[in-house]
């Protein structure tokens, strides 16, 4: 299988190089290298968003979890519907704010809206977190799989460097536009391989699979049930809750953590550089909530049940039936990771260069010099991610564990920018601080540090089976609402109102009826799909409550529940996108404003003095 798999990976790399070369040959203005002229191909953004959501879920990780915990873990994939709703809510308004006030990066948007340098630094920190440990951890995982698939022919470290180089060259040559176009193809490949290989596996497999056979989980794990609403557990690492870790609270909080992918700076930047049009609606309703979430809800348990011995064993048996299918399964496991690494490192490097280097260090650079700066920093970013993935995989894993939950802590800040004008700078900073602290201390990063330095903490990871993202967000929101209530008449409210008024004036006329019904349905759906009501699905269809008899469905009741609420979720996303009108962006009615004072692009004195000292010493 090794030559075939390597040939496929080489073809994937050549695809990226081809489009990078084509983009470079078209020779657009140098200033468009970093943002594609804020007019990326609509189809590429449309295909890429679902791919990024899947990358956040983690293809191999998800199948491993479903293989270990059964349908309770598979329930998390229905969280992709929630990601679609969040993307609709955030991207539409952020896109408008970008055009109205000329806020071209997430850090600039939040920093200037709240008039806070600290918030810009926080966003930059998150950018680095996604670009280095998060991407490094994924790169390391993909390389581990590559090493196993090639039976040691390509060791992990070599795999890391080869993949990093293969992803770096297209980004350096073609910039943001070429990267997005290439990654869009990865997304399409992912979307076709997932159902294609599931069907192929089922047709060619010898024995019965899911749902005729149960998923082979360990003793004591309830494979076809959610083990309660909440479990009184100190958390992973301290105690293992009976029946499995994915309680209703764990599922809903994991879905909240999955939202972190939408609030990650690089994904917000993708939304800002997307073109006007109806692509967002198509992407979220039909591709993400429909095709991808459906693929995982329906096909996830089926494929995971066949992977009881791991993806390599299944790839081996598929290879005997059809070599391309075996190699394709391994490609499916890797392509989501490659997509995430390429996207977050390229996006992160571009954002850091724009926000830090070109704004503060070298504000007077011309467009061509700025493009060179971007290329150099892209090279450095891929070098550092490969360095950290090859030599510090454990540190990367620990850092990666907090990336998504920390990113979710930006939710109140982004909501303030897009919808809730009452949210103030003080509230956002207070909420962010407490939220981030709680996330860090309910994930390995804080736990390991604190317990190594001081004393053993009484809780572990996910205490009470609630994901750190939800712990942090609950306190974050409480602080934001309290602080914002206390600062309703603060002087910075004026600028926030100006932006909101300008954005609302630029929105196309839309139907306003049915909002109450929509939000009521949304709450009811959330309660039953992810909330405490989800445990009703354990036996709702197999032991109906209106009769003493039990129904012989032939499939687990929970699976039917998941499919039902996935379909209802698609309906809700459709409502948001097309009835409320969030799925469409238009620049027709935009009247640009200048938010606050014009930005001073000047190197701070301490930085200028430091630079001068270095230059003098060198000369």
């Amino acid at each position: 299988m090794t030559p075939l798999l390597l040939s496929l990976l080489v073809l994937v790399a050549l695809y990226g190089l081809y489009f990078a070369a084509r983009t470079a040959r078209v020779g657009g203005p140098p200033g468009e290298f970093a943002d594609g002229g804020a007019n990326l191909p609509g189809w590429a953004v449309m295909f890429l968003l679902p791919g990024l959501a899947v990358a956040g879920l983690g293809v191999e990780r998800h199948f491993t979890l479903v293989g270990r915990f059964g349908l309770q873990a598979s329930h998390v994939s229905a969280g992709l519907v929630l990601v679609a709703i969040a993307a609709l809510l955030v991207w539409n308004r952020l896109w408008m704010a970008t055009r109205v006030a000329g806020l071209f990066t997430p850090g600039e948007a939040l920093g200037r809206f709240y008039d806070s340098v600290a918030l810009r630094v926080v966003v930059m920190g998150l950018t680095v977190l996604f670009a280095l440990p998060f991407a490094g951890h994924i790169l390391s995982s993909v390389s581990v799989l590559l090493e196993a698939a090639t039976e040691g022919l390509i060791p992990r470290a070599a795999g890391v460097w080869m993949i990093a180089i293969a992803l770096a060259i297209p980004a350096i040559v073609g910039g943001w536009r070429a990267t997005i176009m290439t990654l869009a193809m990865y997304s399409v490949l992912l979307a076709l391989l997932m159902p294609g290989l599931t069907v192929l596996t089922e047709i060619t497999a010898t024995g019965p699979g899911f749902p005729a056979q149960s998923i082979g989980v360990a003793d004591g794990i309830l494979w076809d049930r959610i083990p309660g609403v909440l479990q009184n557990s100190a958390g992973i690492g301290k105690a293992m809750p009976p029946g499995g870790i994915f309680t209703a609270a764990a599922i809903s909080s994991s879905a909240v953590a999955l939202l972190g992918i939408v609030f990650s700076p690089a994904v917000l930047y993708l939304g800002q550089t997307a073109p006007a049009g109806r692509g967002l609606g198509v992407s979220t309703v039909w591709l993400l909530a429909g095709l991808v979430a459906g693929g995982f809800v329906l096909g996830g348990p089926v494929l995971a049940a066949r992977m009881s011995d791991g993806p390599l064993a299944l790839a081996g048996s598929l290879f005997e039936v059809e070599p391309l299918a075996g190699a394709g399964l391994l490609l499916l496991m890797m392509i989501g990771g490659l997509l995430a690494v390429s996207f977050f490192v390229t996006g992160g490097s571009i954002l850091i260069t724009r926000e830090l280097v070109l704004t503060y260090l070298f504000p007077k650079l011309g467009a061509r010099q700025a493009r060179l700066g971007h290329r150099i920093s892209l090279g450095l970013a891929f070098f550092f991610v490969a360095l950290s993935a090859s030599f510090a995989p454990l540190i990367c894993a620990v850092g990666a564990s907090v990336a998504l939950p920390l990113s979710v802590q930006l939710l109140p800040a982004v909501l303030g920018l897009t919808f809730l004008r009452v949210i103030s700078r003080g509230g956002v900073m207070a909420g962010l601080s407490i939220g981030c602290l709680i996330v860090v201390f309910t994930e390995p990063l804080g736990l390991i540090l604190f317990e190594s330095l001081f004393v053993e903490l009484p809780w572990g990871r996910w205490p009470l089976t609630i994901h750190s993202a939800a712990w942090g967000l609950a306190f974050n929101l409480a602080f934001v609402l309290l602080s914002s209530a206390a600062t309703l008449r603060s002087p910075d409210r004026f600028q926030r109102d100006r932006l909101h008024d300008a954005v609302e004036a630029a929105l196309p006329p839309r139907q306003t009826g049915g909002r109450g019904l929509l939000w009521s349905l949304m709450l009811l759906w959330g309660f039953l799909a992810y909330g405490p009501g989800a445990i009703l699905g354990n036996s709702f269809f197999s032991e109906p409550i209106f009769t003493d008899r039990s129904a012989d469905l032939g499939v687990p009741s929970l699976w039917v529940w998941q499919i039902l609420f996935w379909l209802l979720g698609v309906l809700l996303v459709w409502w948001f996108a097309y009835r409320v009108g969030l799925g469409r962006t238009s620049a027709e009615r935009i009247k640009p404003i200048t938010l606050g004072e014009p930005e001073k692009r000047r190197t701070p004195d301490w930085l200028a003095a430091g630079l001068e000292r270095v230059v003098k010493k060198a000369s």
């Binding site: 176009m181 869009a184 193809m185």
Partner: protein
């Protein structure tokens, strides 16, 4: 036509490639499974089905972006089709009779279905007469201006 600049052309090319690359991989896997031992007509049919879906996707792209197949795409399609026919003929000539019996009919039908798909597209896009005129070189070979008069048969 929205192909008014190089970036628009590149964007369209990217979209077409994003559709065809995964579709070609899937079709190759299915066709390979179909023609090798242990395969069968259904696998070959599924492979050609994926190719027709890819073609439908390409036609939709053309319709949405208000473009047509480029000369390069047409040439590549024709060459690939010709290679398919030649491969089929070579199989008939040199392969064992068991393989020929198993492969020729489904692959031949698959190739015919591709032709039908192309003709269906031409008829839907240009109408029966327009589709025929795209190949009607005889009508175009009279260079005299009078040949363009309607009563002399010129309908251009």
């Amino acid at each position: 036509m929205i192909e008014n600049n190089l970036f628009d052309r590149l964007d369209r090319h990217g979209l077409v490639m994003a559709i065809w690359s995964p579709a070609a991989f899937l079709a190759a896997a299915l066709l390979h499974k179909g023609v090798t031992a242990g395969g069968g007509a259904w696998w070959i049919g599924a492979g050609f089905g994926v190719l027709i879906l890819g073609y439908a996707g390409h036609v939709i792209v053309n319709a949405v972006l208000k473009t047509r197949f480029t000369a390069g795409e047409t040439a590549l399609g024709l060459v690939t089709f010709a290679v398919g026919i030649v491969a089929l003929l070579v199989t008939v000539l040199v392969a064992p009779s068991e393989t020929v019996e198993r492969v020729v009919l489904p692959v031949g039908l698959g190739l015919v279905s591709l032709v039908v798909a192309v003709i269906a597209y031409l008829v839907i896009a240009f109408g029966p007469r327009g589709a025929f005129e795209r190949f009607d070189v005889i009508r175009d070979n009279n260079l005299r201006p009078a040949s363009r008069l309607p009563h002399r048969g010129g309908r251009r």
